[in-house]
């Protein structure tokens, strides 16, 4: 045992006690935040103006109101016949110790019909890349196994998920109402990461734009939501703090903490519009119709964040998304069934990763390439005394 439990365990009580004290202190801040929320709801345009003015030079994310009152609490409407589609991805990062550095992206998808007559489907598709060597981005800051960051594997995976979801939604809309659920944020945030090669970012921005445009073109049949479980975002809390300028009480650390006491099981908040420097940076790559909106949903003790494009924030589409999420989470112990199954289709097991590594090495050898010996890697394999 390398972790010295006799040193660690005595520190735990004080650690938990400090956190508990913080939570108690935050109660007053929650009261203040709720009070600010009420004031915002009395005059949303004036509140928005005050928030924008206060956050003008801030890099922190914040929110402004949508058509709905900021303090709205909505119960889930009835769940109707529709088809839920979802996509999720997994990847094998390039291994700098391999004879050939490459990556694998495996994108899982599901089509789950509920009373629509569409055929259910589960599956995945994989790609190996890059197709051509590209320039690397910034230095990898000493990371040991990161491989060429310039390839933007995570970004490619995010874009592949969005494209897969768009393809399925496009195929099915017109045949039944469709709800597309994505895992994580709506936009692939690495689109503005300087660690990803500029050519890669440009290509993936174009592909993201096309996928979003295809989704928007699906019309009234389609609802879209990007699901972030246990979100730590603080856009609304930051806006409320801006409204309550000068309040010295300890403010809640996340929107989830605020809305956990605002919402009951299955209820959602109002739809808000995201506003921050980073959001603007990435949003500026796309048409205004794709502006990021979001709401929070409570399922059990979990307050999750749902991000959706502005065009998908109409009352009907949001109601369909809300009803679907509540139904999906009830089917799967508090997490959307479609996302869970898409993940299961995407996940690359340890065994598959090892097999891929061996097959890559074998192919490299077949073509006369030898894996360079690396002393650090060898020392990890050879652990004998």
């Amino acid at each position: 045992m390398t972790l010295r439990m006799e040193q660690v365990l005595p520190q735990l009580p004080a650690m938990v006690s400090r956190y508990r004290t913080q939570l108690l202190a935050m109660e007053a801040g929650l009261d203040a935040a709720e009070s600010a929320l009420g004031r915002w709801a009395e005059d949303p345009p004036a509140g928005d103006a005050a928030i924008r003015a206060a956050m003008l030079n801030s890099s922190e994310p914040f929110a402004v109101a949508s058509e709905e009152s900021p303090e709205l609490v909505a119960v889930a409407p009835p769940f109707g016949p529709l088809t839920v589609v979802s996509a999720d991805g997994s990847s094998i990062e390039p291994n700098r110790f391999a004879a050939v550095q490459c990556f694998v992206i495996n994108t899982g998808f599901v089509v789950l019909p509920y009373g629509t007559g569409v055929d259910a489907d589960l599956g995945s598709h994989s790609e190996v890349g890059p197709e051509a060597p590209e320039a690397e981005g910034e230095d990898d800051a000493g990371a040991e196994d990161a491989g060429p960051r310039g390839w933007g594997v995570n970004l490619r995976r995010d874009v592949s998920e969005l494209e897969t979801g768009a393809r399925l939604a496009e195929e099915l809309s017109g045949r039944s109402p469709v709800v597309l659920l994505l895992d994580g944020t709506l936009f692939p945030w690495d689109l503005d990461s300087r660690q990803v090669a500029a050519t890669t970012r440009e290509e993936l921005t174009r592909r993201t734009r096309e996928a979003l445009d295809r989704l928007a073109a699906c019309g009234d049949d389609l609802s879209v939501g990007a699901y972030i479980s246990g979100s730590r975002s603080s856009d609304v809390v930051n806006s409320l703090r801006a409204l309550a300028a000068g309040d010295g009480r300890m403010w809640p650390g996340s929107d989830g903490q605020l809305f956990a006491r605002h919402l009951r099981d299955g209820e959602r908040t109002a739809v808000f519009r995201a506003a921050s420097e980073r959001v603007r940076n990435v949003e500026s790559l796309f048409a205004n119709q794709h502006e990021v909106c979001f709401f929070y949903l409570r399922i059990g003790d979990d307050v999750s964040r749902l991000e959706l494009p502005l065009w998908a924030a109409t009352p009907n589409k949001v109601a369909r998304l809300h009803a679907t999420l509540v139904d999906q989470c009830r089917r799967c112990d508090g997490y959307p069934r479609a996302l869970q199954e898409a993940h299961e289709q995407a996940v690359i097991s340890v065994g598959d990763r090892e097999l891929f590594g061996r097959m890559l090495e074998a192919e490299a050898l077949r073509q006369g390439l030898r894996t360079p010996a690396n002393s650090k890697q060898m020392s990890k394999r050879r652990r004998g005394l």
Partner: protein, 194 residues
Amino acid sequence: MTPTPRVVEAGLRGFACAYERYLEDPFRLGQFVAVREGPCVVLGVVTDSASGPEDPSRPLQPRGAADQSAADVMTANPEIRLLLRTRVSVVSCGHIEGEAARPTLPPMPPPLLARVEPASAAETVRMASDATFLALLVVAPGCDDAAIAASVRTAAEAFGTGAHEFRVRAGKELARLLRAEPARLTSIMRGIGA
């Protein structure tokens, strides 16, 4: 179209085949099946069938309201059927090479991923006519009395009007093979309905 299972484990004495999905009506116990890929046609008798999750780390949870049938629950949870598999165990009972039908082990196992299809009535009659195929079944570890009895009942159907005569021949063959195991013989004969 009826789904076709494929060989997923293969040996000389038997093989296992799996359907791509869960199937409520797979090959039946005692049914004669054929693998027609490879150097010879391998014939076998179904001795077991089981359905469950493809991934053993994800056990099937008992779902559904009190008034829901299995079909209702499947419809309400459309992903489940796609995550289940039906698997069938088969014991080899002979093979056909050219014109010769031999009630003996095949020279090699059927190819993995080969299609497994119902044996035709003609194939069943050729293989079962003298009932000597039963010798392979009675010594097969995975082939219990119920499977042997079911194979005789199934084969008898292929004989049409000659079913009774076939059952008599099968009974005599079983009596010869199991003369040292009267209790087992009785169990199988009861299963045949003789």
